[in-house]
Amino acid sequence: MAVLVLADHDGSAVTQPTRSAVAAASKLGDVTVLVLGPRSAADSAAKVAGVAKVLHTEDALYTNGLAEPLAALLVSMAPEYSHLLAPASAAGKNVMPRLAALLDVQVISDIAGVVDADTFVRPIYAGNALATVKSADPKKVITVRAASFDPAAAEGGSAAVEAAPKGEDPGLSNFLGAEIAKSERPELTAAKVVVSGGRAMGSAENFHIIESVADKLGAAVGASRAAVDAGYAPNDHQVGQTGKIVAPDLYIAVGISGAIQHLAGMKDSKVIVAINKDEEAPIFSVADYGLVGDLFKVMPEFESELAKK
């Protein structure tokens, strides 16, 4: 039986976490991707390696990702699929449990591994344990931890794009507006390098120290919960158990002590660098390279050293 992946897109192409969900879905059956948005996003999905079919609609009902109409649409499509997956993004985590309950199945959130068609590995307790769970439900509804699956290649596929079915509007909610930050930097969950700042940054103004090093490295900017709570960085920068989960090639933690909730969001990074003035900080216990020092001295020096070839 086919499997369905609900895509996230950035307005023009499907996101890298979506391609990670495709990679997970490929282990379960022939992959159909559902794209709700511009035609260009559907075309980008059709080119992803391993995608057999793309279903597409530009229906304005789904433009803002409201969970109620979207879950209703997915329920109407569900009979044709054994598994319905989405990346564990804010959008996927919002709608998939709603879909699961409508189908009377238990959602399997944030999977980090596929064992077989019924059995999945997922982190629990902030990633301090990995549970292997077997579902007895006839249909599986799943969100996929992007950091745990190498994304399917963006090129190489040539799937047909067909029209998605029409759905009903339950009329329960209205979209009022959004403040979405536009940034030239790579998306946090897709970046090869992430530079994150913690409470020790001291102010929102000081965060430019992080940003200018990030720009030298072509990196995304992250933050600890403490830095976000203090208003030094916006909420969508938060890396951790309940924020974003990242696994870049290089993660640089600056002035972050390393609470387990933060480690949960970044400990699968390939190389971790910790810069902290407290040499006892727990972040050093997971860092490949630790530098003990005052970030306000170290970071400008780091930036100028990066400029040298």
């Binding site: 804010a90 199945v105 238990q106 329960l172």
Partner: protein
């Protein structure tokens, strides 16, 4: 407006959990238990709505073993008016909890249910959305602001790129994110007062709900341990290592 706030008993967020030697789960014996932090935020939001005059009554509900009374008492001490304990030993998955809550809601008819977005034990991030689905109610998940408006509620949500705002019809489901508020500590007089507030005890069978789990945990393991690396002495050494040893820049 009548409010219902579900609260979960979980291993305290400061506890470093250990996987059991037989790989059946994590050690929970003799471990400090607390209210799920996101649920504390939910209780706080409900209490603030009541203090503002927007809510009339707050009911705190917990499902799990008898000891969940402690978490209900905490909610009562923070300002909830009464409690309901749905007593059950054994695993309760989000779908089962959503069904139990739906049955309680059928009796209590609240206008708004505020839940934590995620429990820090199973990290499922599901109960609120599942409950909304079963009731056919709108959902405002990951809320950083909740305001009664135009006969419904306006919810500001934390999403991947920033924030978005939704208008929801009532009755509705809201799940809390970290920035919604900072929960208060219950004062001693309020803790004393909470002891006199009523807690009703029910069983899943009283509510006619089948709570059998759908997932079987085959094993629980520790994730691969990361080895601490080395300390470097200077920025020059760090950049040299990143370029030539790790080859990541």
């Amino acid at each position: 407006m009548k409010l219902l706030v579900p609260v979960k008993r979980v291993v305290d967020y400061n506890v470093k959990v250990r996987v059991k030697a037989d790989h059946t789960g994590v050690e929970t014996a003799n471990v400090k238990m607390s209210m799920n932090p996101f649920d504390e935020i939910a209780v706080e939001e409900a209490v603030r709505l009541k203090e503002k005059g927007a809510a009339t009554e707050i009911i705190a509900v917990s499902a799990g073993p008898t000891a969940c009374q402690e978490q209900i008492r905490t909610a009562l001490a923070m300002g909830a008016d009464r409690g309901i304990l749905i007593e059950h030993d054994g695993i309760l998955e989000p779908l089962a909890v959503a069904k139990l809550l739906k049955a309680v809601i059928a009796k209590e008819s609240p206008d708004l249910v505020i839940l934590g977005k995620q429990a820090i034990d199973d990290d499922m991030n599901a109960t609120g959305q599942m409950l909304a689905a079963l009731l056919g109610w709108p959902q405002g998940t990951y809320a950083s602001k909740v305001e009664p408006a135009d006969g419904g509620i306006k919810v500001t949500r934390e999403v991947d790129g920033g924030l978005e705002r939704l208008q929801l019809k009532l009755p509705a489901i809201v799940t809390t994110d970290l920035r919604l508020n900072e929960p208060r500590y219950a004062s001693l007089p309020n803790i004393m007062k909470a002891r006199k507030k009523p807690i009703e005890t029910l069983k899943p069978a009283d509510l006619g709900v089948d709570v059998s789990p759908r997932l079987t945990v085959l094993k629980v393991e520790e994730p691969p341990k990361r080895q601490a690396g080395k300390k470097v002495g200077s920025v020059q050494e760090l950049v040299e290592k990143l370029r030539n040893e790790a080859k990541v820049i």
